[in-house]
Every structure is written in structure tokens, then in C-alpha cells.
Symmetry: C2
Subunit: 463 residues, 2 copies
């Protein structure tokens, strides 16, 4: 068997791939909606059958929530790499239905600028991306009797609701999963329809709630104004002081663990000619905000942020009420990069706030999400292999991209199992992920399947 | 007839005064609750009968809301002053009923540190205070056939809901009301149970809502954080910048029309030994906030303020949501003093905010309440007369007091009718106005009735 055979088999089986893909898309496995709990299980069972059919020992394992599909294939034996494929079978709710041009759980093929596309909830996120590597593994099975590497698979059903059961699951099944060498994740995007990407940076997060309390009750602003501490005034002052004139965050030591961007990488990103104006224009803005003097891609991929995600206090109804509130609240989150430690950031936030709290106020700081940033070693054998096969598949090298958001599961694999991740995804920015009329270009799906087949061959030494 | 006769008549008729007072308190004239609309009219009719009985030409006049009682008495004729008494017959809702120790609309006499007190909704605010001057006028009628001054009366039924119909009413009936020389208002407090007060300063108000808009929709803080303008960050920064380190308000020209406090007045207030710690301790605070280096009474009566009364934006539910909101909102009000013009303050606020709005944000500023501050001339004949009679009644001179809050009707009388007001009230700080178990000390009511009788005699030249 050669890579050429596998790729030819994939190309020859497009209709069969599409048929299986559509079967999976027809299952409305919406994890957020209890009415779809049985559908989530059906999707897990569908995957169990699919993996069993291509030679995997497969189990649907229970969690406190929706089940997880775990499968293993020993590969050819010998000293081959052990890859752990991660994906999720659950999807976002399809509401509002009236904005869909075709039923969200009846996959429909439409023509687009890049050829045919599939419109359905989950078309890309993540059923389409899972189908790419499942199809590559099936071709290995059908052409060569099995994959050239040792393979494990973990497909969860709660990614769209924050993977509440996953950390416990990883800890419980660590012995079974830990032997892998690398986690392969396809849940990210290409740079554009012709340019592949390897995501090597994921920003982390520290998300807190600040609760400020002052007087023992709401006060009349006439009688007490000028004497009583106003917690909303105070909260505004604290939050307003978290950035300086240049948009830099003023927490003590905040940038200590933020490494400079290597010149070569900065140049590579510069050469991408990212269209800042279009990026912002799509959301009704025209000028980058935040840290001054940096290009948009650096701000998004390699610089930390501080955003107030919510604020509330006092009278918020119609008209006026002359009240000095007894309390004020805000949700504040930091996107983290480099070696920033979310817990150190929480500590710094706490110091920053408490230093500004006068005698008569009381503050509580709740710590919610804490995810460390992830930086993938761009010189690792996994990234090197992915770079080679993507260059072959697309005729141009992949972009070493960042992601502004967190993918918490990647941090979990690192923290709980000690495993690095290789993130190669084939979505496009216009896929309408989480929105009505989610779509996945057929060319992307096939490029993805072929790339995964190439990667298997490359790593298994069968190029 | 002499003042002594009138005062003796008042003292001899305590039981009759109490009987009429209780009759009025039994009418649940809650202006805020439509179910009590008929009760409001009953209270107006009760007052019409009372005023008619003591020689007034009286009408119950319609408004868009609850009716207004207007009455006139020509007095003895000749060159006597013309006083316009203002009061309101409506009361706050009594809820929560379960916190009352006796039914709110069944007046009950209890013993207190200052002797008997009446517990009922409206006991002091404003039925009790209205009953004081009504009783003084009745004694004039019964002893001398009528008051020694020309008298007009205006008793409205919507004060507790912000007097929405009053300005239009004053304008409509200006010809009827404008001939008065001075408005007499009893809706304020004494300094303490033994010390009368004339309120000569009322803070004004400018109340605005700031609505900030940025992106065309809510954004994911991972994808857009660091590039997209966060309107809550911006709003915090703007609001947080409205005070300097010393608690002074930073709007351009804000203090231009704030006169210094005359030394003599500052000394008088100082000599009152106002207990700042107790004042703040009652609301769970210990240290004055706001402008540094000023005593609490000056902060409350003679200095302007800026309080954020409400703020909202973004995600305010449980837990975390990684959103950059498209909009953010705040309600901001200023208490004004001296010659500050609410509209000039609005203009300054608008400039302050707009100077800080970057290209990508849009702001709307709604102007709600605008009431100019009121400063009564302490050397006027009305204040001088009140000072003399209060000194006689209490054996000590009255405090020239301020009020932290606005009494909008006082500004309306000035603006619409060109009339100054004389504010002499006999409530106490512990009267639980607007709260369960509202009370009025019987001694205060009788002191008030006697003081009003003395004032009528003093101004009518019959002392």
C-alpha cells in the first residue's frame, strides 16, 4: 500500500463518505437540550458502529452527562507512533429555526464560491471535521487492513456545553489514554480556502466575578450622596483603571510571562496580509481597540486581554431612581498567552482590586474558568510532519496560526494526561459555526480527509 | 384676639385635632396604586369639607391624575401678606404590611421617648404636617372668625409619585395662584426633637442615562478580544474618571457656580455637633466618602455630587460567558447646589463623555430629571418672621438647615409662578417616612400647629 493508493481510494469513495457524513448529521445530537439526550446517545452508538466496522475495539462509556466514545486500534505493531484522535459528536442548538434556509438536521448540498457545500447543524463543528479523519482511517482499513500507526479515539458529547464531564473522564481513564504520544484535534480553521493552518497557540483564560458591597441597604442619593460610598462609582474606577492610555493592562506583573513574538513569526503573520478593516467591518467597527501599535493578528493570537464581560448594579429600569446601591458586580476575564498562569493572574487581580477598596467597602472575588494558554512547540516532530503533508496536499506551506479563544480540552489533555496536541482543522471563517445555516465546503472536507491520510502515512513511515 | 388666645384654643382642642387627623389618616390615599384612586378622591373631598368648614372657598380640581384641592380665604382685608400653603394628601404604599406593628390605616397612639406618637401611613408625610397648619387656620376661624393674613391652599395628590400633573396644573391655574407672596411648605424636618429648623437650601438634580454602543452584535471575547472595542471597559473608564483623587468631580466647569459656604453658616453647622459616625453607622458605614476634607453636613447640604445610580451591560447571569457586549448603559445623577444650572451640567457631562468616545463607539445621552438647586434668602422677611416665632415656640433659635434631596415642587413654584418658599417642617429623623410604622410625635404636631399659628399672627401684625 502507498499513500497514493489511500488518496485514490478516498477520492473514489466520495459518495460513500458523503452518505455516512449525512447519516451522522441527521442525528440531532444537541447536548444542551435534555429533549435530545437520546439523540446524543444515538450519535455515540452510530460512531461505535462506524469505528467497529473499521477494525477498532470500541466502547460507549458513561459519564455524568452524555457518553464518550472510546476506541483503540493496535496498528501494525512495532515502533510506530500512537495517535489519540479527539472530537465531539454533540452540536449547538439549531435555534432560531426560521433563519435556516433548509432544515438543520436534513443535510443539504448547495453551491458556493468554493464548489459544493453541506448545510446542516454540525456540518463542520465537529461532525464534518471528525468525518475527515474517520474517512482517512476507513480508507486505511479498506485499502491496507488498518492504519499505519497505533490509534486511539475519544469522541465526547458535551463540548458545546463546556465539557463538564471530560476532566473527570480523562482522570478516570488515564491508564487507557495516557500511552498515546500526541492528541490530534480537528476543530479549528484553515487560513483561507487555499491555505492550510496548524494552530500552535491557544490563548488561555482567567474569568472572575467581582462583587462589591458597601452600605447595609440601598440609600437615597439625596440624603446620603456625598457621604456614603457608592459601590458603582468605586467599581467603575477600579475597572476603568485596569488599562493605561496605551491599552496595556495595569495589573502588577501582568506581562511578566508574556514572551515577545519571534521576528520570523511576526514576519510570517505580517505576510498573510490580514485584512483588519474587513475583519472589523463585518462587526460594524473600523479601528482596532486594545493595545496600541500592534497588528490585529498579534493582538488576537499573541497578546493578552482584559474584558469586562458583564456589569450590573443599582437601578436599571425605565426612567430615573435616585438610589445609591448597596452593591455592584462585574464579570471580568483575561485572555492569556505565553507562560501566563491563570492563578497568578487571579492573585494579581485580587491584589489590584483590594488595594483600591476603601475601609467601608467589602469585596468578594469569585474565580470561574481558569485555563492556561497553550503554545505548541513548532519544531516538534508532529508539527514538522503536519507541515510536510499539508504542504504536499495544498501546494503551499501551512500558516502557523493562533487562536484567540481557548480550547479547554487541549489544556486538559496537557494537564491531566501530560499530552501535547496537534491542531489541524479545515474549517473556514465563513462556516457560520454556532449560527443558522452552518456549512462545510466539500473541498475542505476532502482536503482534510486526504491530509489526515497523508499524516498517518507520514508518521507511520509509509510515505 | 391675641396670639395667646389662639395658642390656648389649640391646646384646649387637642382631642378634636386628633380626631380630625385620625379621620384623614384612615383614608388609604395611596397615589401609586390604581386600586386606591377612589381613596385619593375621598381624601381630597375630606379636605374640601374641612377647608369649607373653616371659611375657605374650596374646589377639588381635576388633573390627568389625582385631583388637587385649591382653597382661598380673603383674610381680614387690607395690606396683609398672602400666604400659599402647599401640602399633599397622598401617601406611600404601606407594603410590606407584615412589618407594621399596627394596621397602617388605623392610626394608633403609642408611647415613645418624646411622649405619645401616632403610628400610621402618612402620620407625618404629609397628612400630619398638613394637619398642623389646618389646625392653626381652624383656631383662627374659631377664635377670631378667620386668619389674619390672606390665605390660599394647594394640596395635591401625586407628590409620592413625582407630582406628574403639578407643573401643568400650576401653569393652568397661574392666575389664581400667582398673587400669593410666599409659599409655605411643611414637609421637612426639625433638627432634633427640641430644635426647630428652617430649610433654606435644597440641592438640585440633573439625572441622565448614558447609552454606549460599539459593535453591531455581541462578540466572542476569544476571537475579538484585543481588537474590538469593549463598551463596558469604555464606560467604566469614563465613569471612573468623573472623580479625581480627592473625590472632586472632574467635569469641566463643574464647580464654577458653587459658592463657598459663608463662614458664619459653616460655624453654625459645626456647632450642631452632627454625629457623622452615628449617621453613617446606621447604614453600616464608618467613613465619609466623596469630597475629602469637608464635614458631613457640608457634603450633604452644600456640596454637589455625582453618583452612578445604575449600570448594566453584557452577561449578568450565573457563571461565565465569554462575551464582549455590543452596548453598555449607566444612569448618572448630579446633586446640585448654589447657582448650578442642571442644563449646563448636562451639557458639560455630554462634552466629558463625547471627548472620551473613540471613533468606533456611539453614545446617546438621555436627560431625565432636571431640577435647579434652591437657596432661600435667609434675610427675607419670611425667614426672619419664621425665625422669631420658632424661637418663641421652642425657646431656642431654629437651625438654618439644608436638605440633601430635592423638593421638586419648590423649584416648580419658583419657575412657574415666580414664588419663593418658606420651608418649616416638624418631622424627626426617626419618623420612618416611607417605611413601615411611620410615626409622628404628638408633641411635634402640636409644636407645629402652634408655630404656624404664631407665624400667621406675626405676619398678620397681630402678635
Amino acid at each position: 500500500m502507498t499513500t497514493t493508493d489511500i488518496l485514490a481510494h478516498l477520492d473514489a469513495n466520495e459518495d460513500a463518505i458523503r452518505a455516512r457524513y449525512f447519516d451522522l448529521l441527521r442525528i440531532p445530537s444537541v447536548s444542551a437540550q435534555p429533549a435530545h439526550a437520546d439523540d446524543c446517545r444515538r450519535a455515540a452508538e452510530w460512531l461505535r458502529e462506524e469505528l467497529t466496522a473499521i477494525g477498532f475495539m470500541t466502547e460507549v462509556r458513561e459519564t455524568a452527562g452524555h457518553p464518550v466514545v472510546v476506541a483503540h486500534h493496535p496498528g501494525p505493531g512495532g515502533n510506530v507512533p500512537h495517535l489519540l484522535y479527539y472530537g465531539h459528536y454533540d452540536v449547538q442548538p439549531a435555534e432560531p429555526y426560521e433563519l435556516w434556509t433548509s432544515p438543520p438536521f436534513e443535510p443539504t448540498t448547495l453551491d458556493g464560491p468554493n464548489g459544493p457545500r453541506t448545510v446542516a447543524r454540525g456540518a463542520v463543528d465537529d461532525k464534518g471535521q471528525v468525518m475527515m479523519w474517520l474517512s482517512a482511517l476507513r480508507s486505511c482499513h479498506e485499502v491496507a487492513g488498518g492504519p499505519p500507526c497505533r490509534i486511539s479515539v475519544l469522541i465526547e458529547g458535551e463540548e458545546e456545553v463546556g465539557s463538564p464531564s471530560l476532566d473527570a473522564f480523562l482522570a478516570q481513564h488515564a491508564a487507557d489514554l495516557k500511552p498515546a504520544d500526541i492528541v490530534v484535534v480537528s476543530d479549528t480553521n484553515m487560513w483561507d480556502a487555499r491555505t492550510p493552518a496548524i494552530t500552535t497557540r491557544l490563548r488561555g483564560m482567567a474569568y472572575a466575578q467581582i462583587d462589591l458591597y458597601a452600605a447595609s441597604r440601598d440609600l437615597h442619593s439625596g440624603l446620603y450622596g456625598g457621604n456614603a460610598l457608592n459601590p458603582i462609582n468605586l467599581l467603575s474606577r477600579i475597572l476603568g483603571g485596569m488599562h493605561d492610555e496605551n491599552g496595556r493592562i495595569t495589573l502588577d506583573g501582568f506581562y511578566d510571562a508574556v514572551p515577545p513574538i519571534p521576528n520570523a513569526l511576526a514576519q510570517q503573520w505580517h505576510d498573510l496580509n490580514f485584512d483588519e478593516r474587513r475583519f472589523l467591518g463585518e462587526i460594524g467597527l473600523s479601528t482596532p481597540s486594545g493595545e496600541k501599535g500592534l497588528p490585529a493578528l498579534q493582538r488576537m493570537w499573541a497578546r493578552p486581554t482584559c474584558d469586562v464581560n458583564g456589569i450590573w448594579g443599582g437601578y436599571t429600569g425605565e426612567g430615573s431612581k435616585t438610589v445609591i446601591a448597596a452593591e455592584a458586580h462585574a464579570k471580568v476575564s483575561f485572555r492569556l498567552v505565553g507562560y501566563q498562569d491563570p492563578h497568578a493572574i487571579f492573585d494579581s487581580l485580587e491584589r489590584f482590586v483590594k488595594e483600591r477598596i476603601p475601609e467601608d467597602a467589602r469585596v468578594e472575588i469569585q474565580r470561574f474558568g481558569a485555563a492556561p494558554p497553550v503554545t505548541v512547540d513548532e519544531d516538534s516532530r508532529w508539527v514538522a510532519a503536519a507541515r510536510r503533508v499539508l504542504t504536499e496536499e495544498f501546494g503551499k506551506p501551512p500558516v502557523m496560526a493562533g487562536s484567540g479563544g481557548s480550547i479547554p480540552v487541549v489544556a486538559s489533555f496537557k494537564t491531566i494526561l501530560g499530552l501535547d496536541s496537534l491542531l489541524i482543522g479545515f474549517g473556514l471563517d465563513d462556516d457560520a459555526v454556532h449560527s443558522p445555516n452552518e456549512k462545510f465546503d466539500w473541498a475542505c472536507l476532502m482536503h482534510g480527509a486526504r491530509s489526515h491520510a497523508r499524516l498517518l502515512a507520514e508518521l507511520g513511515g509509509k510515505a
